[in-house]
Every structure is written in structure tokens, then in C-alpha cells.
């Protein structure tokens, strides 16, 4: 029987499947249905130095084969997460990836500083889709030099590995990925949601603008993973519309070492456990010794 175990930034994960940030609450909410230990790792909701309240409702809207959200990064703050929620993962020995953000370089730095260098903390996942309020709202994640600088700034204040999570709303994602790598990122998460909007012809207005996720995003995400794999020598976590084991395999073959599953969980709360067992079956059916070996095989 093949093994699902993968190595990510020096930590052994029991499988390459984790939730995408912001789509599994604080982790405990799923417990009535299945155990968090099922996952290769848990990715936190986006955390910030201080608590954030987020946006007004409506915050979610269904799209054909996807959804749009404008949660607005509501979270309890990094301190509260580590005092109230982190012990739950420690007790269950579940590796944690700490997704975080800021609206200024200082906020990124002070948030990162607060993350302890615990053996279960696999990495800091930097959400680079945030606007830099100090610099007139220009996003941190859209210009290569800005990405380089912010990653480097965080790199200097923490010994924890850094994964840069990129937005697809850029002119060349490979260039941004390279800038993150050169700034000191140890890994990449590709991709975050794509900006989108809804128009309601009955009420004749625009009820919601926000980030598009779900199956609709998959071909865009696959292309980002495929293109970055050869150009940037750090592990990639693939995300965007993964609904089943077949989708997960596509990302692994395109070059991902692990995958994050987000929106799928809303359509089927058992999506992740199913993907994990589906990957196991695939290994067996294909006489494959380990899932780690299929990373990037689509490149020939």
C-alpha cells in the first residue's frame, strides 16, 4: 500500500491534504462531523495582530460552480488564537499552518512575531492579497518588489518557515512567486480567490463584490501551479476549486507538494476526508509507492 505521507518544510505530514484558510473556521467547528487529525495539517483562518470585524452582509453569494465571498478577514486576532484555539491542535498533535495578514508592513511584522516557534507550527502562510493601507491601498502582493520587501521584512523577524500565498490578480504570477522566493519564502500557496462581482438583474444592483472560489477557479489555479513549478525551487501548495481526489491529483501532477481544499467543504462537509481516502485508493490502483512521487509529473 502506498503512503500518503509528504514532507513539507521539514515536517512530516500524514497526507498532503489541508483546508484552505478561512474555510474551516477555527478548526473545532468541524469536530461534530470528523476529527481534525484526519488532515495533513490545519491552516488557520487569516489572523491579524489585532482582532478584525470584517465586512457587512451579504458576505457570500453562489455562482455557477463556485461562490463569491467578502468576509473581510474577520478574526479574533493572533493572540487569542494562540491562547484559546491552538491548545486544541497541540492536544491532538495536528500540524498547523498559520495564515496571517496585515494592512501595513508593521502589522505583518508584529503579527508574525507573535507566532511561537512551536514544533507543530509548520509555517506562516502570508496572505499577500491585502491592500497596504499606508501606501494608498496598493496591494502587497501584486508587485514583485513589494512582495520581495514584505517577505524579507517578515523573514527577518521569525525563524518559522514562510509560505507566500499569492493572488491570481497579477500580471505574471511566476514573477511574483520568484520575488517571494528571493525575499526568503520557503514555500508558495497558489492561489487565493480572484476578484469578481455579481449583478442582480431583478433588483438592478450589485449585491456583492469579492473573491471567487470553487471549481470555477481550478483551471486558473492549475496554470499558476504548473507555471511556477519549474521556475521557482520551493514547494508549492495548490488551492483553487479542488472538489475531489481527481482534482487534487491534477494539482499534484502540475507541481504541488500538497493541496488546500476550501469551498468544497461548504458543498460537502466530508469533502476532505473523501479526498484523502480517494488519494489512497488511487495509489493502490496505480501501484504507486507514495503520493510524494507524483508531484510535478505532468512536466514529463
Amino acid at each position: 500500500m502506498g503512503t500518503l505521507a509528504v514532507d513539507l518544510l521539514g515536517k512530516a505530514l500524514k497526507n498532503p491534504v489541508m483546508n484552505a484558510s478561512g474555510t474551516l473556521g477555527y478548526g473545532i467547528e468541524i469536530e461534530p462531523l470528523w476529527n481534525i487529525e484526519t488532515l495533513g495539517a490545519y491552516v488557520t483562518k487569516g489572523l491579524s495582530e489585532k482582532p478584525h470585524h470584517g465586512n457587512k452582509t451579504p458576505r457570500v453569494w453562489e455562482e455557477r460552480h463556485g461562490m463569491i465571498n467578502s468576509i473581510g478577514l474577520q478574526n479574533v486576532g493572533v493572540d487569542d488564537f494562540f491562547s484559546h484555539y491552538f491548545p486544541f491542535f497541540v492536544e491532538r498533535k495536528v500540524p498547523v499552518i498559520v495564515n496571517f495578514f496585515g494592512f501595513s508592513e508593521d502589522e505583518y511584522i508584529s503579527c508574525a512575531r507573535k507566532v511561537p516557534s512551536h514544533h507543530l507550527v509548520v509555517a506562516l502562510e502570508m496572505n499577500l492579497s491585502c491592500p497596504n493601507i499606508k501606501k494608498g491601498g496598493i496591494s502587497f502582493g501584486k508587485d514583485a518588489p513589494a512582495v520581495h520587501n514584505i517577505v524579507r521584512a517578515v523573514r527577518e523577524v521569525t525563524p518559522v518557515p514562510i509560505i507566500a500565498k499569492l493572488t491570481p490578480e497579477v500580471k505574471n504570477i511566476v514573477e511574483i512567486a520568484r520575488a517571494a522566493y528571493e525575499g526568503g519564502a520557503d514555500g508558495l500557496t497558489l492561489i487565493n480567490t480572484m476578484p469578481a462581482a455579481v449583478i442582480d438583474t431583478r433588483s438592478r444592483n450589485m449585491p456583492l463584490k469579492g473573491g471567487l472560489s470553487g471549481p470555477i477557479l481550478k483551471p486558473i489555479a492549475l496554470r499558476a501551479v504548473y507555471d511556477c513549478y519549474k521556475e521557482v525551487p520551493i514547494p508549492i501548495i495548490g488551492a483553487g476549486g479542488i472538489m475531489d481526489a481527481e482534482d487534487a491529483l491534477e494539482f499534484l501532477m502540475a507541481g504541488a507538494r500538497a493541496v488546500e481544499v476550501g469551498t468544497a467543504t461548504f458543498a460537502d462537509p466530508f469533502a476532505m476526508p473523501k479526498i484523502i481516502s480517494g488519494l489512497g485508493e488511487w495509489l493502490d490502483e496505480n501501484n504507486c509507492a507514495g503520493i510524494a512521487a507524483i508531484t510535478g509529473i505532468a512536466h514529463g
Binding site: 452582509t57 455557477r64 465571498n69 462537509p269
Partner: protein, 252 residues
């Protein structure tokens, strides 16, 4: 809480646009508190997310909801035939909590009735239903409700009180004061807001069921928040900390 496969046993219009859907489940739905809801997977591949519906009735391996057709999800659901497969996730959220004593004034606006029907059944004689509907044609919605005192307000005056349900309650509220009333409400936002105006002076205990667009129904996405007066975390998840909230803790 569980995610249970089931098949549609009945899905028929009670009155045009309002359906009662009964699903036979593979295993029983866990013990439900009135006011809790389920997330239903509509048997149509074009409908991506599940839809939240209050538990109207649940017994053994069947669960019933009542819904109004308002958009593409409920529209697709109304087309689903007998034996169509569905998934039922629940029971979800925090339901009503009934005080040990006192009269229970239950205020329902339109399809809001579906959100209090299980509560009414539990309360029996302790309850008085104040129902707001647009006209007498909507009365059949109550056809399966027996043994409950009902006061009806119709907007067109075709039955009972002519006006909205909060005005109707206003006419009667004083007469219940001595019985230590608790108000339970489910209905459109406008109804809740005017209810708050009515009850404000005396701060009559009141629990309301709130609706918001949901993606997960499980507290995972923070898509469904309602604003409360909590100073640290004002935005509470309707699906997790709600859908029933203490009216006096909400910021409306």
C-alpha cells in the same frame, strides 16, 4: 449533528409558491431543538451550495421543511420529484430556549411560520401564534397545525386583523402582561425591527430567529454574521451562535 443521505418522499405545494418537503433519511436526524435548521443539498447539479431551512418537523427517519420559492435554489428544489436524492446536514445552530413558565407569544411573518412551527408543537397550549400573512389564501399553510390558538393579521384584510402582525400583537400585548410573556419571532427583517420598537419600552423577553445568506451552515466560513452588542466580538455567526438570538442583544 450528521450529514445524512435521504430521498424525497413528498414535495408538494401547500399553496402556490409554498412547498412542504418531507425527506426519508438513511438514519434519524439527531435530537433537534425548535428553531434549529438543516442545510439541504438540492438535487440539481447547477446548485452548488446547500440551502438552510428550519426544521419544521422531525420524527424517526423523516424530516420535514416548509419553503417558499424565492430564487434559483428553492426553484430547483420545487422541481425535485419523489425519490430524488438529497443530503441533510443537521440539526444545526442554536434553537429557541423556552422558559419554564409563562405564556409564549409566537410571532411569525409569512414563511417565518416554518421557523416556529416545531416550537408551537412543543409548546402546545402555552403558545399563542400571531401570524402575519398577506391574505386568506395563505391560511392553508397552517392546515397541519392543531390545538394552537392562532390570531391572524392579513395585509389585505381578507381574514382576521387588517394590518401587519406587529400591530396585531400591539393590540393584545397588554392582556398577556400578567402571564409573564416571552415573545418568539421569525419573519422578515422589517417585522423584527418593528417588533423591537413595540417591545422596547418594557423590554419584554424576546427571542428572534435571524436569516442570512449562508455558505456552510457550520460556522466554518463566517459568511452569515449578525451584529450584536457584544463589544469584543460583535459579529456572531447566525448558523452557529444563532439563528436564534436574544432580541435585546442584537444591533438591528
Amino acid at each position: 449533528m450528521d450529514d445524512i443521505p435521504g430521498t424525497i418522499r413528498e414535495n408538494s405545494a401547500v399553496i402556490p409558491g409554498y412547498y412542504r418537503l418531507t425527506v426519508r433519511l438513511e438514519r434519524p436526524l439527531g435530537e433537534a431543538v425548535p428553531g434549529q435548521f438543516v442545510m439541504l443539498k438540492v438535487p440539481d447539479r447547477e446548485i452548488f451550495l446547500r440551502r438552510p431551512f428550519s426544521i419544521y418537523d422531525a420524527r424517526g427517519t423523516t424530516v420535514t421543511v416548509m419553503y417558499r420559492v424565492v430564487g434559483k435554489g428553492t426553484e430547483a428544489l420545487s422541481r425535485a420529484g419523489k425519490r430524488a436524492p438529497v443530503m441533510v446536514l443537521g440539526p444545526l445552530g442554536r434553537g429557541f430556549s423556552v422558559p419554564p413558565t409563562g405564556v409564549c407569544l409566537v410571532v411569525a411573518g409569512g414563511i417565518g411560520y416554518a421557523g416556529v412551527r416545531m416550537l408551537l408543537k412543543r409548546l402546545g397550549k402555552r403558545a399563542v401564534l400571531f401570524l402575519g400573512i398577506s391574505g386568506r389564501t395563505e391560511l392553508p399553510l397552517l392546515s397541519d397545525l392543531k390545538g394552537i390558538e392562532v390570531l391572524t393579521a392579513t395585509l389585505d384584510g381578507s381574514h382576521g386583523y387588517h394590518g401587519n402582525v406587529v400591530s396585531l400583537l400591539k393590540e393584545h400585548l397588554a392582556s398577556y402582561r400578567s402571564q409573564g410573556p416571552t415573545v418568539f419571532a421569525c419573519g422578515p427583517r422589517g417585522m423584527i425591527v418593528s417588533l423591537k420598537g413595540l417591545l422596547d419600552a418594557d423590554k419584554v423577553p424576546c427571542q428572534v430567529s435571524v436569516e442570512e445568506r449562508m455558505a456552510c451552515g457550520l460556522g466554518l466560513c463566517f459568511g452569515c454574521v449578525a451584529e450584536t452588542k457584544d463589544e469584543i466580538n460583535p459579529l456572531k455567526r447566525v448558523c452557529k451562535e444563532g439563528p436564534v438570538f436574544d432580541l435585546w442583544e442584537l444591533s438591528l
